[in-house]
């Protein structure tokens, strides 16, 4: 079963969450515009990760932590797998098992930190494919902590994106905005936005008129929406706003009684079971 798509549609956070919840085993391959990365999981836990912007080979890690020099690294035969090399080094007493584990773990985490920065690129999850000759994080790393850390950093922009997914909408003031506006302190930027609010200007146009980034304008609009100063007008072609919790009044009753409804449903079930 394929699990592939674009990070633009399904983010790293969402992917890690899925891998975590579904306890997946396999390798996630990401081919971004500027970099490629791999991360491998066993039963939903992270065991390995690499990106082309960070050396995840054992030799590279050893150089990075200052265990060996670049010159020394060049003398190590290139045909050894990381696992073989690690075994040799540990047996020779040049590296303790704890040091090795720590190093691998940190490296995997560093890579995953970089993964969170990717927001575009194709991803593909290969079930049951694991890099057998590479060094794995031991014990495997729990994803919930990683997801927490990653989302905490991204939360704001991502949440805003969710709240205001579409900048092509227009805004209008809610009833009696003057009364409300008098009670809140608006920043200069916010006032600038306010001055442009009318059903003819989309949020994107307002941002452009004020040279604001998507994030900046989202923050301001979100705050004003939260404060109840403005509301979104759905232009043609845009999804309806998510309904308020609790929903609307119940539609007219289609059945005279619960018994009648039950009998209709049972009739339908029998019909489709035939």
């Amino acid at each position: 079963m394929a699990l592939k798509g674009n990070l633009h549609d399904f983010s790293i956070t969402q992917l890690l969450n899925l891998i975590h919840l579904a306890r997946k085993t396999g390798t996630l391959a990401i081919d971004g515009k500027h970099s490629a990365a791999r991360a491998s999981f066993r039963e939903g836990k992270l065991v390995f990760a690499q990106t082309d912007t960070l050396d995840s080979r054992l030799i590279g890690m050893l150089v990075k932590v200052g265990k060996i020099t670049v010159d020394q690294s060049k003398k190590i035969p290139a045909n050894k797998t990381d696992r073989d090399l690690a075994n040799m080094l540990v047996q020779a007493g040049l590296l303790t098992k704890t040091e090795l584990e720590q190093m691998v773990r940190n490296n995997v985490k560093d890579v995953v930190d970089r993964l969170f920065a990717l927001n575009d690129g194709l991803f593909r999850f290969e079930p049951n494919v694991l890099p057998e000759d590479r060094l794995w994080a031991e014990p495997p790393i729990n994803l919930d902590g990683i997801i927490m850390e990653g989302t905490r950093r991204l939360k704001e922009s991502e949440k805003l994106q969710e709240e205001i997914p579409n900048l092509e909408v227009t805004l209008r003031f809610t009833d009696r905005p003057d009364a409300k506006l008098r009670n809140v302190n608006l920043s200069v930027d916010e006032w600038r936005v306010v001055s442009y609010i009318n059903p003819k200007n989309t949020v994107r146009q307002i941002a452009q008129a004020n040279s604001m980034s998507d994030l900046q304008i989202r923050k301001i609009v979100y705050a004003m929406l939260q404060a109840g100063l403005v509301e979104v007008i759905q232009p043609l072609g845009m999804p309806a706003p998510v309904a308020v919790p609790g929903g609307r009044a119940a539609p007219p009753k289609a059945f005279a009684s619960t018994e009648e409804k039950r009998s209709v449903v049972n009739k339908l079930i029998n019909f489709f079971n035939r």
Partner: protein, 180 residues
């Protein structure tokens, strides 16, 4: 004679028309008209009014299936369609994650109209790129008590299966309401 209705909703090109066509005893009534905007070129023709299917159970009972218009700009019709529905089905094209966010949005909108039972049809499971129903559940943040069912919209047995599961969910909801 009694008529009851169910609504079939979901993003553009998810398979709503196909789903209704597979199970309906009449030709699906839909106003197919050419739409040529870029986003919509994915399919040559698409429903601009709505799909409408009929299933006659017996002389006394007829089930109508309404498919919501594919385009978001027809969402003013959603609420009208959903009035008095027995339940609804959200059809998702499991092979196109770029539509998942929209599917989730449509689902939330419909849930706002009425507290009606619903199921998710993970459609196009015959496609090599299809995400599994389990993965789709997580991707769409569907809670455990809602069914996410494998579906291939032109496979009559699978379509029946989705309708049956929705009917079972309706019964379960009634039992819960009765008990509580």
């Amino acid at each position: 004679m009694q008529t009851v209705k169910m609504v079939v909703t979901g993003p553009f090109a998810a398979g709503k028309t196909e789903f209704i066509r597979t199970i309906s005893e009449i030709d699906v009534v839909s106003t197919e008209r050419k739409i040529s905007s870029d986003a919509e070129r994915i399919k040559d023709a698409t429903t601009v009014a709505m799909d409408f299917g009929r299933i006659t159970v017996d002389e006394e009972l007829v089930l109508y299936l309404f498919g919501t218009p594919g385009q978001k700009r027809f969402d003013f019709m959603w609420e009208i369609l959903s009035e008095g529905m027995l339940g609804f089905i959200v059809i998702v094209d499991s092979s196109r994650p770029e539509t998942f966010r929209e599917a989730r949005g449509i689902l939330d909108t419909f849930r706002g109209y009425a507290e009606t039972p619903y199921v998710i049809a993970a459609n196009k499971q015959d496609s090599e790129d299809a995400w599994s129903p389990d993965d789709l559940r997580i991707a769409l943040k569907i809670s455990k008590d809602i069914k996410v069912l494998p579906c291939v919209a032109n496979d009559k047995d699978l379509v029946k299966g989705v309708l049956l599961e929705l009917l079972y969910s309706i019964l379960e909801t009634m039992d819960l309401e009765g008990a509580g």
